[in-house]
């Protein structure tokens, strides 16, 4: 019996190649066509992988043909670089994938959910047996442990998430924060949505075009305010997201100073994502004002990624421990998941050292 993984990811293929395999097969069809005992298909925007167990050795080409089945071109003309991991290396690879160490953005949180959905879909179709069941249950446990015991998922890496992270470090709970969106661009909309998703309730939108302001306000559940009134609102708000197309700064020290006096000592967090900038950079020197333009947000995202990369070694150590333990348990014929989950249909005796 063989446990193996065949796939391609952002490491080996570009989006054009990857997208040709999206939804082209299912775990059930792979079991049927390639003759596997068990199979699971994991597809994301930058990964297409088949995890399978088989009695006989199934070649990479056979799996690739299953994946390419619905493509109109001749498979021989189109052979993306598939990788293949077997036995212990397959276990290691899955644990790394589930823990987001193999992701394009190290430490991202989506992959775990995607892996769980792939497992659930394969389980419902009956393509998952005891071996993949145990393997994936352990992978989910490892991923959770890695996220809890390391800083791999710390820090934000997109404009919206950086803004939310910083706002939470200044204000704590965002439910009491008042937000003004100045300029109804796409990035400011995403940033506003990110803040709302973390609890911000009072959201105001101001734009030169009142119609566009109303449209965005309606979309995000806020209220539109006339563009001429935005300075008055600055006295009340806690977070300002600005992205207008103004050629000169809208907010300078001179304009902000009287507003700050009326705000007492409440902090003001400004996210300036406009190019050219809407806010004079010297505003950041003012007491209680935290100004982040697109460059500083990018720099924060890079720092977060660097921090995550520093955590890779610690995460790898946790994974290595689990791989050894998992292989050991399987080789001794024990069921590492028996206490927490009921394995599906196939027999217990199929798990032996020979699998790995």
């Amino acid at each position: 019996m063989n446990l193996f993984c065949v796939g391609l990811s952002h490491h080996t293929a570009n989006v054009a190649k990857l997208e040709r395999f999206a939804d082209s097969a299912s775990a059930e069809s792979i079991v049927r066509e390639a003759g596997c005992t068990e199979a699971l298909l994991l597809t994301t925007c930058n990964r297409v992988e088949v995890y399978a167990v088989s009695q006989r050795r199934i070649s990479t080409g056979e799996i690739a043909r299953c994946l390419m089945r619905k493509i109109d071109t001749d498979p021989h003309d189109y052979a993306p670089p598939f990788y293949r991991y077997e036995a212990e290396k397959c276990v290691l690879h899955l644990f790394r994938v589930a823990s987001a160490l193999d992701s394009m953005v190290v430490g991202e949180s989506e992959i775990l959910g995607q892996a769980k959905r792939a497992y659930e879909s394969a389980r419902k179709s009956g393509a998952v047996g005891p071996c993949l069941h145990r393997l994936f249950q352990r992978a989910f446990r490892v991923a959770k442990q890695v996220r809890t015991h390391t800083d791999i998922a710390r820090g934000a890496v997109s404009v919206g998430s950086v803004a939310v992270d910083l706002a939470q470090r200044i204000f704590g709970k965002l439910s009491d924060c008042r937000v003004l969106v100045l300029g109804a661009g796409e990035t400011s909309e995403r940033t506003a949505r990110a803040l709302i998703s973390r609890g911000a309730r009072d959201l105001r939108v101001s734009n030169r075009s009142m119609d566009r302001a109303r449209e965005l306000a309606h979309a995000v559940g806020g209220r539109a305010v006339p563009f001429d009134d935005w300075p008055a609102h600055c006295r009340e708000i806690d977070i300002l997201i600005t992205s207008t197309s103004s050629e000169t700064p809208l907010l300078t020290r001179d304009k902000l100073a009287p507003m700050l006096r009326e705000r007492m000592d409440r902090s003001l967090f400004i996210i300036d994502i406009a190019v050219p900038r809407d806010v004079d950079p010297t505003v950041n020197e003012m007491q209680g004002v935290y100004l982040y333009d697109i460059d500083s947000i990018r720099s924060v995202a890079e720092q977060s990624l660097a921090l995550r990369r520093e955590q890779v070694a610690a995460a790898e150590a946790i994974i290595a421990e689990h791989v050894t333990d998992f292989v050991d348990l399987v080789s001794r014929g024990l069921n590492p998941a028996s206490q927490t989950a009921k394995p599906p249909s196939l027999g217990e005796n199929s798990l032996r050292a020979s699998e790995l």
Binding site: R169, I170, F171, G172, Q287
Partner: protein
């Protein structure tokens, strides 16, 4: 973080046991020399942390509090300051209340100082856009400032009680000590008043907490040291 809290809790139990044994031995509150004062201060810091830390979800404060407690205790143990009084000092409830309540107030000021350091570290990172690993572990600025304000009020109230009770001890107090203690009281009163009237920005209040506690420690050392010199034969 939970480990932090339990570790400090365990240390606190041992400190309490030590102070209790010492108190029984002396037949009074164990605040007769600089050694006991430092141990009592470390105990107060740990006690206030255990009251405040979990309440304000400032668990990381333990990581800042523990080193301060260690420094106070190590200094007390290493420095030759455990000088026994030649004669047993008579028990004086007012004096003991004055000394102990003042030291608990110092504990609150110490915690306010620690929260001030945390505030300045977090504020600096936010201003300079240089976010280090600690940034994601420190509490939000708003929460830290709320903790600073409450600790200052607690410390100030206890310190006021300490000063007032000092006048009932029946001992003539050295004028320098009285002036310095009132000076410290005025400093904290000014910080709180400045905060109340919004004259002082949160960052300034945080910085003044550090200054205030440094002044408090100097005063404490001065008071205890001079008292010890005077009591020597």
């Amino acid at each position: 973080m939970r480990f932090n809290f339990f570790a400090i809790g365990l240390g606190f139990i041992f400190q309490t046991a030590f102070l209790s044994v010492r108190g029984h031995e002396l037949g009074r509150c164990p605040l007769t020399n600089l050694f006991e004062v430092f141990i009592f201060l470390a105990w107060s810091v740990a006690a206030i942390y255990m009251l405040v830390g979990p309440g304000y979800r400032l668990s990381l404060m333990g990581a800042f509090t523990a080193p301060l407690v260690v420094v106070l205790q190590v200094f007390a143990l290493i420095a030759p300051i455990d000088i026994r009084h030649p004669a047993t000092l008579p028990a004086n409830p007012w004096l003991e209340f004055h000394a102990s309540i003042s030291l608990v107030a110092y504990g609150a000021f110490a915690l306010a100082c620690i929260a001030g350091v945390m505030y300045l570290v977090q504020e600096r990172q936010l201003k300079t856009h240089q976010l280090h690993s600690i940034f994601y572990h420190l509490p939000p600025l708003t929460d830290l400032f709320a903790a600073i304000t409450r600790l200052l009020w607690w410390g100030f109230a206890l310190y006021t009680l300490g000063i007032v009770s000092g006048f009932f001890t029946g001992h003539p107090l050295p004028r320098v000590q009285v002036v310095a203690a009132i000076g410290l009281w005025l400093l904290y009163a000014a910080i709180l008043q400045g905060r109340h009237l919004r004259w002082l920005a949160p960052k300034r209040v945080a910085a003044l907490c550090i200054l205030g506690f440094s002044a408090a420690l100097t005063l404490l050392w001065g008071i205890t040291f001079t008292a010890q010199i005077h009591s020597l034969p």
